[in-house]
């Protein structure tokens, strides 16, 4: 009952989206469809998707209060512990890192620029040593100087996973190198700087020693988990209650579940900052449980932006899409997620590539898109590298973006698989995600046409890591099909693809490579890409990996995720950063100065 209603609503949204304007919907690829700017005239309403690849309302006007709202509370304000994309984006207000994503729209925002560092790092010839020089005179909010040791200390903190937990752990894997370092809290070194792979010869120099080359390493240093933390102000697990600012704003109040308020940090030097605008005087983030109320505030322009950037609710979407003047205040960018169905070769008959091919041909991708909320919620997509990552392209060997099943091909493949009469299998889906359940049902319906009989198994969504993340369970439960979604922690091909398709990432619990792809050629390409200093060369390798994975028919990409977000017309400097798939918060200003 509920599912049908949701489906109907989704279908309505989809129809509206298709009829009111062409929003680039069904065509996959790198373009964000920014050219659909309906009005074309600058001013009050910048136009639909106007912020996708250019700056809306450029301005240098300072003052006022930026009002962001959210229904999802922050996971942590401690840069070492946060994992939400919106927090990483939000951290840019109060956290600076050696390198940071440039404040530019579209793909330009994927570039790392020196932030605390005075320049790009010196990389040794063997690509295993990175040396950074810090800008002089950088200060924390308390006026103390930011030194290389504060950065090293900040990195060391995340090694204490029993204290600073929840954030990304890439740097541990990269820098521990057998030392088994347990973090500064139990460090016997008098200065608590016992991590051997990071050296701080002086206060403005920091040297990282890697075990093997990794061209993604700079991206790891752009994460909050590599942000400087002053040892004397570190509160361990409670640091998130009052993170010490190195950026243009500092916290005035932190009230979990209610809201957060940032005010100007007078010890931030604009001249030292490569991109931060710091226009509003105050940045407020209000937490509410009431999504309808938040949407109402957004549409009434009493709130500026949905902080979580997950899109308007169904009801508000319908309203917005029906009215071109409202629609002109929304953006519908890719958020870096691909929603897909994994086929597990460990579960027969998916050990046979032809059976996997059959599913790909028989899938009704339009129905799957509708199940997820229509074209505003995601574009049909042919491969497994999202459009905002270098190396992505329009590759679509199975014709998924055509939007309709190819039953003849599917039947041919079934025959080749030796299952001309079809087969039975089970699709695993998180029971608490209605869109995913809808997708599973849509796929079930489509596959019925070729006699593939699918049972939908809804499991407790919080048990991902021990259900679909446990290869044994996948096998024993016969999960031939698994509905999931994935977004990268850092916008490179390996950041996105490696956990999904690198055989060395398979774990017995918390696995993400559900298909258990372990192809030496793919693994080797990842290693080559890690050594490539030229991003273009790495991108070429990721493209090859992506194509090979798709050709292997392990994944059925359903959509490249999009979210229809409201933008208050009073906001200035609005653009989508491809690094986060969200509006770049730090660039925002308010035109009315209120």
């Amino acid at each position: 009952m509920k599912r049908n209603r949701t489906l109907a609503a989704a279908a309505l949204v989809a129809t509206l989206a298709l009829t009111t304007a062409a929003c680039g919907g069904s065509k996959g690829g790198g373009s964000n469809g920014g050219g659909d700017n309906a009005s074309g005239k600058a001013g009050a309403a910048a136009g639909f998707n106007a912020a996708a690849d250019k700056v809306v309302n450029p301005s240098t006007k300072k003052g006022g209060t930026l009002e962001m709202w959210t229904t999802t509370d922050v996971d942590s304000l401690d840069p070492g512990r946060a994992y939400y994309a919106s927090v990483w984006n939000y951290e840019r207000f109060y956290t600076r890192t050696l390198l940071a994503f440039d404040g530019k729209p579209g793909k330009d925002g994927l570039k790392l620029v020196p932030d605390l560092a005075s320049a790009q790092p010196e990389v040794s010839a063997d690509a295993k040593t990175y040396t950074f020089k810090l800008k002089p005179g950088l200060k924390f909010e308390d006026g103390s100087v930011i030194t290389s040791k504060d950065i090293k200390y900040g990195i060391e903190r995340i090694f204490a996973q029993d204290v600073v937990s929840g954030g990304p752990t890439y740097l541990i894997n990269e820098l521990d190198q057998g030392q088994n370092y347990k973090g500064p809290y139990t460090d016997s070194d008098p200065n608590k700087l016992g991590l051997k792979t990071v050296e701080t010869p002086d206060d403005t120099t920091i040297v990282f020693h890697l075990a093997k080359p990794n061209s993604d390493f700079p991206f790891l240093l752009a994460m909050g988990s590599a942000a400087p933390v002053p040892q004397k102000l570190d509160a361990g697990s409670k640091y998130g209650d009052k993170p010490v600012s190195s950026g243009p704003y500092k916290f005035k109040s932190v009230e979990p579940g209610k809201g957060y308020e940032l005010v100007r940090n007078e010890n931030w030097d604009p001249a030292s900052d490569p991109f931060r605008k710091a226009l509003p005087d105050v940045v407020k983030l209000t937490v509410t449980t009431n999504a309808d109320d938040m949407d109402a505030r957004l549409l009434a322009n009493t709130a500026d932006l949905d902080w979580a950037q997950t899109g308007l609710s169904q009801a508000a979407q319908v309203k917005v899409l029906q009215d071109p003047s409202l629609k002109a205040n929304t953006d519908d960018p890719y958020n870096g997620f691909i929603r897909y169905v994994t086929m597990a070769p460990t579960v027969a008959p998916f050990d046979n590539v032809h059976c996997r091919n059959a599913v790909l041909y028989a899938a009704d991708t339009t129905a799957l898109q509708t199940a997820r909320g229509g074209s505003v919620a995601g574009s049909l997509y042919g491969s497994m590298l999202p459009p905002n990552i270098l190396g992505s392209d329009d590759y679509d060997p199975f014709g998924l973006t055509k939007g309709k099943p190819n039953l003849d091909k599917a039947k041919e493949e079934l025959k080749a698989c030796g299952k001309a009469d079809g087969f039975k299998t089970t699709i695993a889906v998180r029971g608490n995600k209605p869109k995913e359940v809808n997708s599973a049902v849509a796929l079930q319906t489509a596959l019925k046409a070729v006699n593939i009989d699918v049972t939908v198994d809804q499991y407790d969504g919080k048990l991902i890591s021990s259900v679909i993340g446990a290869p044994d369970v996948v096998k024993s439960k016969g999960y031939g099909l698994i509905v999931m979604g994935w977004g990268a922690d850092y916008p490179t091909g390996s950041g996105y693809l490696q956990p999904l398709v690198d055989g060395r990432f398979i774990t017995q619990n918390g696995n993400n490579n559900y298909a258990e792809i372990n192809d030496p050629e793919i693994n080797g390409w990842f290693d080559q890409a890690a050594q490539a200093t030229d991003p273009a060369k790495a991108a070429e390798l990721y493209k090859k990996i992506n194509h090979k994975v798709i050709d292997g028919a392990y994944y059925l990409p359903m959509v490249a995720d999009k979210a229809l977000n409201w933008r208050n017309p009073r906001l200035t400097n609005v653009y989508i950063s491809d690094a986060f798939g969200e509006v770049d918060f730090q660039a925002l200003g308010v035109s009315d100065g209120k």
């Binding site: 204490a160 029993d162 204290v163 697990s237 579940g257 919080k462 890591s465 774990t507 918390g510």
Partner: protein, 332 residues
């Protein structure tokens, strides 16, 4: 009396211990049966082994269940120390630990949450007690009239309609359509007027549900009482009818109402999940749901104990009040 009170309080503590032990047991048995690890919920996206170990250690999940339970009890009675990395944080008794998810101390968190339920209950209980009982009394005194039938039909509707229906209707009409009331909760300490306005709809809706029960109960009880011999005696003494009803009949009518009032209030303070959800209130009920969803053991324990505490205490208070109201009851 004092001995009785002491014995009952010991009983309360014992009950809470049993509740705590059972909750603890369920929390650890379920993952065992489903083969999951609560720690997996709190690592980042990629379940790195180091991270999982760290979190297990941090949450104390690497200790045996018995030891964890012992530490929990110790925390409740004498407080316990937590390693915050940079220093040891002392969590003073009664310490319910730290939320796995938010890392906030559970005790103050729940005290804050229960404030919402107190606010909710305070207004609603006055409304339902006054209107429910008054309606029932009037209905009983006008038995068989159109008024009686009308009020009892409304009461039947009140009992039958779930809060998420009446609540949503109230929200849609008075909150959204007419815009008479805000639909957000504000703390009393932040802004008393906004607090009041924000709670009007939940109060009325909740009171409607309960008032219906109370109307039916007080009507039935009063009708019973009016048939009692001592009411006839009171009339035979030549007392005025208002005295007969207001004094003699009502005193007896209120006794069973007091009982269910105590239980209802206790239950309500322990969290009103549906009401909270409908009106976006963050009380114990909200915390109960979210903590279970996120396997946040310390919060689950805390919520369960809070709810159990209120219900057990409500029981005790009702029993004590009973002794005050009814001289025949002896506290032994």
């Amino acid at each position: 009396m004092l001995v009785y009170l002491f014995r009952r309080l010991v009983n309360v503590v014992f009950m809470l211990l049993v509740v705590a032990a059972v909750t603890f047991g369920i929390f650890f048995m379920v993952p065992k049966l489903t083969g999951t690890d609560p720690a997996m919920l709190y690592v980042g996206k990629i379940a790195d082994k180091v991270a999982v170990e760290g979190i297990r250690h941090k949450m104390g999940l690497d200790k045996s269940i018995i030891e964890q339970f012992w530490l929990f009890l110790k925390g409740v009675f004498v407080g316990r120390d937590y390693n915050a990395g940079t220093d040891m944080t002392h969590c003073a008794a009664p310490c319910l630990g730290y939320s796995f998810k938010t890392e906030r101390e559970v005790w103050p968190l729940l005290l804050n949450r229960v404030g919402v339920d107190f606010s909710l209950a305070a207004g609603a209980c006055v409304l339902w007690l006054v209107f429910g009982t008054a309606t029932g009394v009037v209905s009983a005194l006008r038995r068989g009239t159109a008024l009686d039938r009308l009020t009892m039909s409304v009461a039947l509707a009140g009992v039958s309609l779930p809060i998420y229906f009446t609540g949503l209707v109230a929200l849609a009409v008075f909150g959204h359509q007419l815009g008479w009331f805000p639909i957000n909760y504000t703390d009393l300490t932040d802004d008393p007027l906004a607090w009041f306005e924000g709670l009007v709809l939940p109060w009325v809706t909740l009171a409607f549900l309960y008032a219906a029960t109370y109307a039916r109960l007080s009507r039935a009880t009063l009708l019973d009482v009016l048939g009692e011999d001592y009411i006839r005696t009171a009339r035979a003494k030549g007392l005025k009818e208002p005295v007969v009803i207001g004094k003699h009949a009502m005193r007896s009518t209120l006794t069973p109402i007091l009982t269910i009032f105590g239980m209802d209030l206790g239950g309500l303070l322990g969290g009103a999940v549906l009401t909270e959800k409908t009106f976006n209130l963050r009380g114990l009920g909200y915390e109960a749901v979210t903590s279970i969803q996120s396997s946040d053991l310390p919060v689950i324990m805390g919520v369960t104990l809070f709810a159990a505490f209120f219900i057990v205490m409500a029981n005790l208070v009702v029993d004590l009040l009973y002794a005050v109201v009814d001289p025949r009851v002896r506290l032994t």
